[in-house]
């Protein structure tokens, strides 16, 4: 069966090089550029204008007015964020803390569930589909449902708590517990993401290492620790990466459930950003915060990527 290299061979030894063959040769030699080209072009086109706009706006002072134009103030916004805004500083640490607890819980639970579901059992299709449900529901609807579930005197959560004999919790209705209550919703909603990716990763694992290990007499736990985990690690890190990116930028559930309260105890950078842009109309300042958030998330990504590369 003739294939591409045959054609190339023939034309070189033969006479003229036809345009079709020229194109083919070009395509073969530059595969490494042609493969990613459509994706990169698509992404670049879509994000180039917003990137430039946000960058430019972060250097201006402007309150979304049709009457006054943006005023160039260089890096004053950044200076304000880094040194003069305690609310931003608090939001920064809070964002990191929230991401840490939420993503850790999601990873542990997600991997556990993936391991559990990675076998043949009756009802597997149904169970796997149901376990992805939380991701599928509209975040705002789920947040509203949780708001009522968390209601201290009317909510079903405290009803269940009372059944176990404990005293009712305040959930999102107290500055001490709000962040954790929201993290709980996040864990409920996004553990399936990690589980799904881990499941696919487990499915793609080679069989040989396990066969050899079992022949050598390894236990299940040893198989998991020394074979599964290291092999799964790159895929898992990517899942953690994406979950962390999204967790650092969490907006929907916090906005609906507490709007960052009570007393700003659940205010993350993204909430603050939204407020600055759409409540206070402080477009320049909000843009600089967006750039700062971008830098923070990018920083976290780079760290995670280093971890992935090791070993």
């Amino acid at each position: 069966m003739p294939n591409q290299s045959d054609l190339v061979q023939r034309s070189v030894s033969g006479g003229e090089v036809l345009p079709m063959e020229r194109f083919m040769r070009f395509a073969h030699r530059n595969a490494r550029f042609i493969f990613p080209a459509p994706a990169v072009i698509a992404v670049a086109l879509i994000i180039v204008y917003p990137v430039i706009y946000t960058g430019w706006m972060s250097l201006q002072e402007w309150f979304a007015s049709s009457l006054t134009l943006p005023k160039f103030i260089a890096f004053a916004n950044y200076k304000q964020i880094l040194t003069g805004d305690p609310r931003f500083r608090d939001a920064f640490f809070r964002t990191l803390y929230f991401t840490l607890i939420a993503v850790s819980a999601e990873t542990a639970l997600g991997v556990a569930m993936a391991l559990l579901f990675n076998r043949e059992f009756w009802g597997r299709g149904l169970v796997r589909t149901l376990s992805i449900l939380p991701m599928m529901a509209t975040p705002t609807a789920i947040s509203l449902v949780f708001v009522m579930m968390y209601h201290p005197t009317l909510g079903v959560m405290n009803y269940l708590v009372s059944l176990t004999g404990l005293s009712p919790f305040k959930w999102t209705y107290s500055s001490k517990t709000a962040l954790y209550a929201i993290a709980l919703v996040d864990v409920w909603e996004w553990t399936p993401l990690i589980m799904l990716i881990a499941l696919a990763g487990l499915a793609a694992l080679p069989k040989e290492p396990y066969e050899s290990a079992l022949i050598d007499g390894a236990s299940n736990l040893q198989c998991f620790w020394y074979i599964t985990l290291p092999l799964l690690r790159p895929t898992l890190i990517v899942a953690i990466l994406f979950r962390s990116i999204d967790a650092l930028k969490t907006f929907d559930i916090i906005f609906v459930m507490t709007q960052g309260g009570p007393s700003n105890s659940s205010e993350t950078i993204n909430i603050l950003l939204f407020n600055q842009a759409f409540s206070y109309f402080n477009m320049g300042y909000a843009s600089s915060m967006a750039v700062a958030l971008f830098a923070i998330v990018m920083g976290a990504c780079l760290i995670l990527m280093k971890v992935r590369r090791v070993g």
Partner: protein
């Protein structure tokens, strides 16, 4: 009794004038500047003058809008124009409006503005189309429109410091008191006339966990509107005459003590994060004895499908405070975008939406209006949708109405500042401290945004 100070033109609803108007006397409205309502001479006004134009509107979900859009086909027949509109919840709607106006696209012609949030901000951004010229133009304004029929409070709410009229008022929302008539009657009580009486009644009703005495909003930003009642009652104000923060006064501290104290002692647990839906749910489920919020919540309270206490709710104007007696009001209005490509045509739409006939229809549907005459409309009186004491409470409150929020550019940030302060106080911080902090932040904000 200390008289409240006037803070310049257009910063609060008028009281005595209001009473005169309600007597159906046409007042010359000195509060509205150079514009005078005169009936048109000759029929130079034509509803069909912009036939064929197409308008695009953004509306936030609101009972007024629900009722109004039902009659859009009638408007389209009347004028030969087409109206396309989009209804979104308030936050998303304002977000989209902001994006559109910031982009300067001219795609939006009309929106239903919340004056208590947008008045100064949008005016400073140049987004409102001034309507004075249109109102005076006899070929653009129907002869029977009767601008003077609008209540003083409504007019004040849509008029800017430089006397430009930014929008036509639709809905004036006073806060009123809701109470469990059945429980009160059992004890032989009447609606409280003073704050002290209210506190006393709440305490006597308070019997957790089956009954809580009192509830009001605790969620930051949302709590700034009920808060207005308390500070006015204590004789406090937002700004000094030279427009600086007036928060660092004993009256504000007293207000904080009262509001956070009431909530801490008599409200259901978790009230610190309660928005209107937690409050109204608790009230409708029969868990709370006394509540106060916007007047239109009554619609749900009387609906058996939604409320366990339908028929058991009493309505009254908010009680008097030690220093003054005001009901905070918040006004909505229909506005034309300054970027619109069909300004006059859009003006016809907002005018139609606020005519006597449309306002009467709204009132029939149980939505309060900013005009005087619909209240005495025969049909409205004949088949009232709401209990009689609701109408009374509404009218009473309009009489003592006063714009609830400060007339500053960044109202939202003020609401966040005081909102967090209230939440801290509810959770136990000392009122003196939180007020001091709020004052500092408020002044900083004013310095930055009021120039």
């Amino acid at each position: 009794m200390k008289q409240p100070k006037r803070n310049g033109m257009g910063s609060r609803g008028v009281t005595r004038r209001e009473v005169l108007r309600l007597g159906a006397t046409v007042a010359a409205g000195a509060a509205v500047g150079p514009f005078i309502a005169t009936p048109g001479h000759g029929q130079t006004f034509n509803w069909k003058q912009f036939r064929g134009k197409e308008l695009y509107c953004i509306f936030y979900k609101h009972p007024w809008i629900d009722e109004m859009v039902k009659f859009f086909p009638e408007f389209e027949d009347l004028t030969g124009m087409k109206v396309k509109h989009e209804v979104l919840p308030e936050v998303q709607g304002r977000q989209k409006l902001t994006v559109e106006m910031t982009a300067g696209s001219g795609g939006v012609d009309v929106w239903h503005a919340s004056m208590h949030v947008e008045k100064r901000r949008f005016w400073k951004s140049g987004w409102f189309q001034p309507l004075n010229a249109f109102l005076e133009n006899k070929s653009l304004t129907a002869p029977d429109y009767d601008w003077a029929d609008m209540t003083g409070g409504a007019i004040a709410a849509v008029t800017q410091p430089d006397k430009t009229i930014s929008a036509l008022p639709t809905f004036v929302d006073p806060f009123v008191l809701f109470y469990r008539k059945d429980l009160f009657e059992q004890r032989g009580w009447k609606a409280p006339k003073t704050m002290a009486e209210l506190e006393d009644q709440a305490q006597k009703l308070h019997n957790p966990p089956s009954m809580y005495g009192f509830v009001a909003r605790g969620l930051k930003n949302a709590n700034a509107t009920p808060w207005a009642y308390v500070i006015y009652a204590m004789g406090a104000d937002y700004l000094t005459p030279d427009r600086k923060s007036a928060i660092n006064t004993p009256a504000w501290v007293k207000s904080m003590e009262w509001y956070s104290g009431m909530l801490r002692r008599f409200a259901p647990p978790g009230v610190v994060n309660f928005n209107w839906y937690e409050c109204s749910s608790a009230f409708m489920q029969g868990q709370v004895g006394i509540y106060y919020d916007g007047v239109n919540f009554a619609n749900q309270f009387e609906d058996k499908e939604k409320s366990k206490i339908a028929g058991k709710v009493g309505y009254a104007a908010l009680p008097a405070g030690p220093a003054a007696h005001f009901a905070p009001t918040f006004t909505n209005a229909m506005a034309v975008s300054a970027q619109s490509r069909n300004k006059e045509a859009a003006y016809l739409l907002i005018q139609w939406a606020t005519t006597k006939q449309m306002c009467a229809r709204e009132l029939l549907a149980g939505v309060g209006v900013g005009r005087v005459s619909p209240w005495s409309n025969a049909e409205v009186k004949a088949k009232p949708k709401m209990p009689a004491d609701w109408y009374n409470a509404y009218l009473e409150s309009l009489k003592i109405g006063r714009a609830g929020l400060p007339e500053i550019v960044d109202v939202t940030q003020y609401r966040d500042i005081i909102g967090v302060a209230i939440q801290k106080a509810i959770e136990g911080a000392k009122p003196v401290d939180v007020i001091a902090q709020a004052h500092k932040e408020f002044q900083e904000m004013l310095d930055k945004t009021e120039k």
